[in-house]
Symmetry: C2
Subunit: 384 residues, 2 copies
């Protein structure tokens, strides 16, 4: 609980934050709208807007017309009041960075892709400077950088774990980046950010909670509980590759990675006479061919096994199949998984295919960056 107490300054700060938050949420509002939404009086609303525009946080974007009376000014949060950069990091032979610079309104201002050098520090700072210059921003005016990582970030220890990209596992890297950039640097798992994209741009817009299963070379799970992501003790929640299958021990031991990890999917495709270079290609081939039902059925059964364990622990109303393999499987795979799950357990979450177009990880990072930037701007409008 926020234990706040204070005097008139606090009141002013509260009212300004509330007004700015409304502008950010709803886009454009007139003074009259704000008056109704905040419950404040006309003079106060005017004063608050005067302060917000003076501070460069709000701008007049138009005038009403058509009705009786004078035209009212339409306000919006100033899109240029802050900028954030989302960076997706992945390993593709060498470190590869995709980045988007967007403004406070969430609009994309600049975009870049680089095959980076080994040392992350100059790679990221160079990318940030490049984007800022191309967007015509003063260097250092980016207030927030969101990293999407193929690993898990432990903020308590300040270290990125389980990451295969060289140089990125150095302790203190995130803090060093923040110091060098003069910006807040947030870091999160790529699958978690894909889940954020799913909530903003995909099929999970309306649900209270959902779980997103990421099938690709690796295997991952993101758990969204009412809009906040579950991260676990050391950022390790959702490592469902370790879910055990059967009671085997030692060499006999089997886990979910052995069942539906990338190599396992390729092997399964092979036993059904489907040869492909990647698991997603194998699944795509199966979906488009006429007689590949048995392969998909077998794969769905394995996926359903993993989902049964997840559903028994979390009981999510919706499970989204994502990642290259999940997307390639499409509705054909989703309906088979649903059937397999219903046949084996009494739990019945809805199963859907990801609805995010393009690069879900970068889109999710962009959404997360924008969200954090808004929170930062709202908080900064209320000093102390």
């Amino acid at each position: 609980m926020t234990r706040l107490a204070g005097s008139s300054k606090l009141l002013r700060a509260i009212n300004e934050s509330a007004t700015l938050a409304l502008l950010l949420d709803r886009g454009t509002l007139t003074r009259g709208d704000l008056r109704e939404l905040t419950g404040l009086s006309k003079p106060t609303t005017s004063e608050v807007m005067r302060r917000l525009t003076d501070a460069g946080l709000a701008v007049v974007v138009g005038h009403t017309s058509g009705g009786p009376g004078p035209s009212a000014e339409i306000y919006a949060a100033n899109p240029a009041a802050g900028h954030a950069i989302a960076i997706s990091v992945r390993e593709a032979g060498r470190p590869h960075l995709s980045a988007v610079l967007c403004d406070l309104a969430g609009a994309e201002v600049a975009r870049a892709e680089v095959a980076a050098a080994a040392d992350p520090l100059p790679a990221v700072t160079g990318l940030v400077d490049d984007l800022s210059r191309r967007a015509g921003l003063a260097p250092g005016s980016t207030r927030l950088v969101q990293l999407a990582l193929p690993g898990s970030y432990d903020p308590a220890a300040g270290v990125i774990r389980h990451i295969d990209v060289p140089g990125w596992d150095r302790p203190g890297l995130v803090a060093d980046l923040a110091a060098r950039l003069g910006a807040t640097v947030a870091a999160d798992n790529d699958v978690n950010l894909a889940a954020i994209a799913e909530r903003h741009h995909g099929v999970a817009g309306a649900v209270e909670s959902f779980a997103l299963v990421w099938f690709s070379g690796g295997l991952g799970l993101a758990i969204d509980l009412g809009g906040t992501l579950l991260r676990g003790a050391r950022g390790g929640a959702g490592e469902i590759g370790y879910v055990p299958v059967g009671l085997g021990r030692g060499a006999d031991r089997t886990d979910l990675t052995d069942l539906v990890g990338g190599p396992a999917v390729l092997r399964l495709a092979g036993t059904h006479g489907i040869a492909a270079a990647t698991p997603e290609a194998a699944v795509a081939a199966a979906v488009s061919s006429a007689d590949a039902g048995p392969f998909l059925d077998a794969l769905a059964e394995r996926i359903a096994y993993g989902l049964a364990a997840v559903a028994a622990v979390l009981d999510p109303p919706l499970v989204v199949l994502a990642g290259d393999v999940g997307r390639a499987g499409g509705e054909a795979l989703a309906t088979r998984v649903t059937a397999a799950l219903r046949a084996t357990t009494p739990l019945d979450p809805a199963i859907a295919v990801t609805g995010v177009p393009g690069d879900p990880v970068l889109r999710g990072a962009q959404a997360a960056a924008n969200h954090a930037l808004r929170a930062q701007i709202i908080a900064s409008s209320a000093p102390r």
Copy 2:
């Protein structure tokens, strides 16, 4: 986000709530302490305390002495400002209710146990009236009733699911109770409430999050994430009895209940030559005997299998073994489970035995009731 805006009245409400919350949290405080904690000035602190005492929410409980200057008044939240009742419901041949009435400070005022009639409505109202009368409270002065149920409550549908106690599955029962009692009625799963007890009185006081596994006749899991419990889409989170074991289908299918449910534990004990009437008796016998290692090892291995699935999804820093069987197993079982888990998975949550004495469900319900009552009182001190 609470989007609040307002005038001086809001300020006063904020300051009063903050002060009352501090009193509830810290027990006893002088005006000077409050001044320091809230940052308010001397006259304002006096005014706030005058209002709180006038409203009967705070009382003077003593005076400082020893230092120079006049003695300062020591304030506390008025324990009699509100009362709550915790009721644990279970099936024992016939419906059985255990109840505790406690005041705002959390102190027990009265206690009752009844083997109740079939209809829950008169049983509960009778119990509440009886406790109130014995505590010398005016009828209807109890503002909050917390129910602990061997089932899951779906607040959206207003129905208690998966409950074996006759009469308690009637739709609308909780709302009817609230109307008849003129009080807020909260309902929660008994294992969830045992987890709350574990946080307040047991071994989970300091951790950020933990999972509590309940071994008894049935099998349950409570997930505490930073003090809030995960409940799932339809209150079904933690139904780990459904976690599948191996890829069998149909009659061949095995789940965790078949492995570590009460009957399964009894059977396992039997194969190791231990005969007992209940699973907890079997485990207790094994722990106290010298040569029952093999049984405990086998049981620990099965438990570790279930925990591996839970840990892969949630990555909790701590797992507490609770319920009759978990408590009977004690440290002997916990160390074996730890070893078995380390041997099979790379995940390494700490494993501990429940540290809650007495009836953990009722204690947890009492803690939950007290917490909700405090929130209610704080909220009611800030009108609108």
